[in-house]
């Protein structure tokens, strides 16, 4: 456990160590430049504007498909989650090839909010499904109008979903590289990659990294403060009694128009553009595809297994034996994992070069990066899964003469299997779409779908990039479907 915790804290340690190494004076000269101010402005603006827009899109569409008499609710429910299967950088490439003039903050906002609003949509949908309809009925019987019920009863209960989803979106916005680099919108993350490419892991990349890490911690702090003492309550698998649907009446066409517009901008435009380019793909461009598919699968699978192996004991401690140690471990993990992938990558480059040069640019290092970056996904899923397996089942098995370890194996693990599969799928999905850490850490010659896509697309070989983009989307669909099914409470 302790070794694992130390491993997870490498990125945090790196940031502190880098600060100490560079020294405050040099850090000041490196950071007090107009360029850094511009980056800071861009990064803060995309956060301040992007997070509320994604919340609006996510909560609004969740409410429309879950709580209104919208025609075709099931269809729209699926259509709304579809952008999750399209990596942001693929969507950005789709847009950039359709509207070449798209760029800057406006372009960044358009691409990022459309790519990330499902991250708010899903938890909001889950919460809306889990809400006890009798709360709303009580409010109505107390004389509240429909609008007042929505504002005073439903929305307050969505607070945790909104904060949690908003936090994830904010962290994604901080760490996004590909989508922003495409449309020439500069944030700290894109600037770090540029600095890394020109000066390697030198002080300029590190100093930008320190600011980026600080921004992530600030975002975490804001979310923690807003959340207060409330906890992410477990959302049940829905109520037997469905909630009464709000009648949209004359607003129905408007609601449909809104959802269709979102879907068109978020899914149809990028996908049509990708498919159009793929028609121009020449057969010889497919040569690397098979190889990339294999490499991607192996690395993603490694990351998934690694993350589950690390997350399982932590989830176990946190749900079964909550203690100071388990909370410290969890806190450490969540800080390490909320640092942008580029920081994790820089940290692992520095550590491997200085401590274990043999591991530099090996599959092991990439896998470690995936584990660190995607651990929260595994942890959250496994915790929820474990919380659903009552401890009394294991006790019952022990009272029947089964030794504790065997009881776990015969009772808890089979019941946990859906959660393990879901956690693995989520990590693998993230790893397959991961760009920055893979670019920095992958062994020379390793070609993943994401890196191959990137090298083709960033040299404006749009046709060559298309098959990789399509493969990434196809690979992501099962994981998104699984996530969606879980949200709708169809598993188990």
């Amino acid at each position: 456990m302790v070794i694992l915790a130390i491993g997870m804290l490498i990125p945090v340690g790196y940031v502190i160590e880098a600060t100490a190494r560079i020294g405050v004076d040099e850090l000041a000269t490196l950071l007090l430049r107009p360029r850094v101010g511009e980056l800071l402005g861009n990064t803060v603006l995309i956060l301040v504007l992007g997070v509320p827009i994604t919340i609006l899109l996510g909560v609004g569409s969740a409410w429309l498909v879950e709580r209104t008499d919208l025609p075709g609710r099931r269809f729209f429910a699926i259509l709304t989650v579809a952008p999750l299967a399209i990596p942001a950088f693929v969507s950005s490439y789709g847009w950039a090839s359709v509207v070449p003039s798209i760029q800057g903050l406006g372009g960044g906002l358009l691409v990022a909010t459309l790519a990330y609003y499902p991250l708010v949509y899903l938890p909001a949908l889950a919460t809306l499904r889990g809400l006890n309809p009798s709360l709303e009925e009580s409010a109505r019987s107390l004389g509240l109008k429909e609008r007042a019920v929505l504002l005073r009863v439903v929305l307050p209960q969505l607070r945790l979903a909104i904060l949690g989803g908003g936090l994830i979106v904010a962290l994604h916005l901080l760490s996004e590289y590909g989508a922003f680099a495409f449309i020439r919108f500069d944030t700290f993350t894109t600037a770090i990659v540029v600095a890394y490419q020109s000066t390697f892991a030198g002080p300029s990349a590190a100093s930008l990294g320190i600011v980026l890490a600080l921004l992530s911690v600030i975002v975490l702090g804001i979310e923690a403060t807003a959340r207060g003492r409330a906890r992410y309550a477990y959302v049940g698998s829905g109520n037997a009694r469905p909630a009464q649907l709000v009648k949209l009446g004359k607003f129905t066409p408007l609601a449909i128009l809104a959802l269709v517009t979102i879907a068109t901008l978020a899914t149809v435009v990028p996908m049509v553009s990708v498919i159009r380019w793929s028609l121009a793909t020449k057969p010889e461009m497919l040569d690397g595809l098979w190889r990339a598919l294999v490499d991607t699968s192996l690395l993603s699978l490694g990351g998934a297994i690694g993350a589950i192996v690390v997350a399982l004991p932590v989830a176990w401690l946190a749900t079964r034996h909550p203690s100071r140690l388990s909370r410290v471990l969890e806190g450490g993990y969540s800080i390490a994992s909320s640092l942008p992938a580029i920081i994790v990558a820089l940290a692992l480059v520095t550590v491997t070069l200085n401590v274990a040069p043999g591991l530099y640019q090996t599959a092991a290092t990439v896998t470690a990066a995936y584990v660190i970056i995607f651990l929260p996904r595994a942890l959250v899923t496994l915790r929820a899964g474990l919380a659903q397996v009552p401890e009394s089942l294991e006790e019952a098995a022990r009272a029947l003469g089964t030794p504790p370890l065997l009881a776990r194996l015969r009772v808890t693990i089979p019941l946990l299997f859906p959660a393990i599969a879901a956690a693995g799928a989520l990590v693998a999905l993230g790893a397959a779409n991961e760009l920055t850490a893979t670019l920095l850490l992958a062994p020379t010659g390793t070609r993943t779908l994401a890196t191959q896509f990137w090298s083709a697309a960033s040299s404006i070989d749009y046709a060559g990039a298309a098959p990789y983009a399509i493969s990434l989307v196809l690979l992501s669909i099962p994981a998104v479907a699984l996530l969606f099914a879980q949200t709708r409470g169809r598993t188990r």
Binding site: P390, E395, A396, A399, L400, T402, A407, P414, L415
Partner: protein, 350 residues
């Protein structure tokens, strides 16, 4: 084999949950531990099952020590069955696989059939899954699963509380029959005094982490050690009383003393059960003002207030037909049969 518990204490952090618990359960007998929620009764059961270790004291079964300072037999080697409040059936296993979970491969099928019969479970249920069973069936499967490996002792943790009233009676009867037939030593915990009194041979009263009284259901109900225990075991009327030889004088007239628990205290309270009190036309023993009459089908609940000082409120359930002559504001005579239990007035609640 006798289940023997002595001097058992347990704290969770700084909070003492059980202090110096001691009691015995004779082989083949059924004992109910009754107490308000949060009194530590589930913890006691979990100590016996081996899920929790005591801080001090000893738990033994026959001559085998299960738990003593510094050593503890793990739950899976105790041979003690446990039925949790919700049954804790394995949701991924069928009824047969649940019941057979703790059985060796040899003879498993035969034993499953046998215990299903013992617990009055329909053989057609074998391939069902827990979510396809009713609540009462789930509890009986849980009991069958616990009884299948022929444990020396079986522990039941409020096994009927999740069931609704009609089903509860029926399931309780089926469970008692199954336990009787198998002759298994049983400990049940419950917060329902009726359940405790009707469950078996012994009742142990638990309060704030200790066991102030245990014995036969009749003695615990009829001769409670304190007024608090008396109130826990059923509704009571507590009357300020004056000793008068072998009797007492009270607002309900002169009552004989059935048990004296006052340890010779100067001022005493007399405890009678409302079921001992009956209405009479004779106003000389004790009398009271009718403050309300409420009909519940065939019975009427009559609320009364005694005329003396301080006034004592009590409610009597009488046949509805007899209550028709009673009007609010009328004065009725009261008679007590069966004698009172005396407690020291300073030590009683109220």
């Amino acid at each position: 084999m006798k289940l023997h518990i002595s001097g058992v204490s347990k704290s969770f952090g700084p909070t003492p949950v059980l202090t110096d618990i001691g009691f015995d359960v004779a082989q083949g007998s059924r004992t109910a531990i009754v107490g308000p929620s949060g009194c530590g009764k589930t913890t006691l059961l979990r100590l016996i099952a081996g899920f929790v270790e005591p801080d001090s004291g000893e738990i033994s079964l026959g001559d085998r020590v299960l738990a003593a300072p510094g050593r503890s037999v793990p739950a899976h080697r105790r041979g003690i069955g446990y039925v949790a409040q919700d049954g804790a059936l394995f949701p991924h296993l069928s009824v047969a696989a649940n019941i057979g979970f703790g059985l060796p491969r040899a003879g498993r099928t035969e034993r499953i059939v046998e215990v299903m019969k013992l617990t009055s479970l329909d053989a057609a249920l074998v391939s069902r899954y827990p979510h396809q069973l009713s609540g009462g069936q789930q509890q009986r499967v849980a009991l069958a699963r616990a009884l299948a490996p022929r444990p020396e002792v079986v522990l039941l943790d409020e096994p009927f509380s999740a069931l609704d009233t009609g089903l509860r009676e029926q399931t309780r009867a089926a469970v008692i029959t199954a336990l009787e037939r198998s002759g298994t030593t049983t400990v049940l915990v419950t917060h329902d005094q009726e359940e405790a009194l009707s469950f078996g041979d012994g009742v142990a009263v638990m309060m704030r982490g200790s066991l102030p009284q245990s014995g036969s259901p009749e003695s615990v109900f009829g001769n409670p050690g304190t007024a608090e225990i008396a109130a826990l075991m059923g509704s009571i009327v507590l009357l300020p009383a004056v000793r008068f030889g072998n009797e007492i004088d009270s607002a309900l007239g002169r009552i004989s003393v059935r048990h004296d628990r006052s340890a010779g205290a100067e001022s005493v309270s007399a405890m009678v059960r409302p079921s001992q009190v009956s209405l009479s036309v004779d106003l000389t023993h004790g009398s009271a003002l009718v403050t309300g009459v409420r009909y519940i089908g065939p019975t009427a609940v009559v609320s009364l207030r005694t005329l003396g000082d301080p006034p004592i409120a009590l409610s009597l359930a009488i046949p509805a037909l007899q209550a028709q002559s009673l009007a609010v504001g009328a004065v009725v005579g009261l008679k007590v049969d069966g004698g009172a239990v005396l407690y020291s007035a300073s030590a009683t609640i109220h």
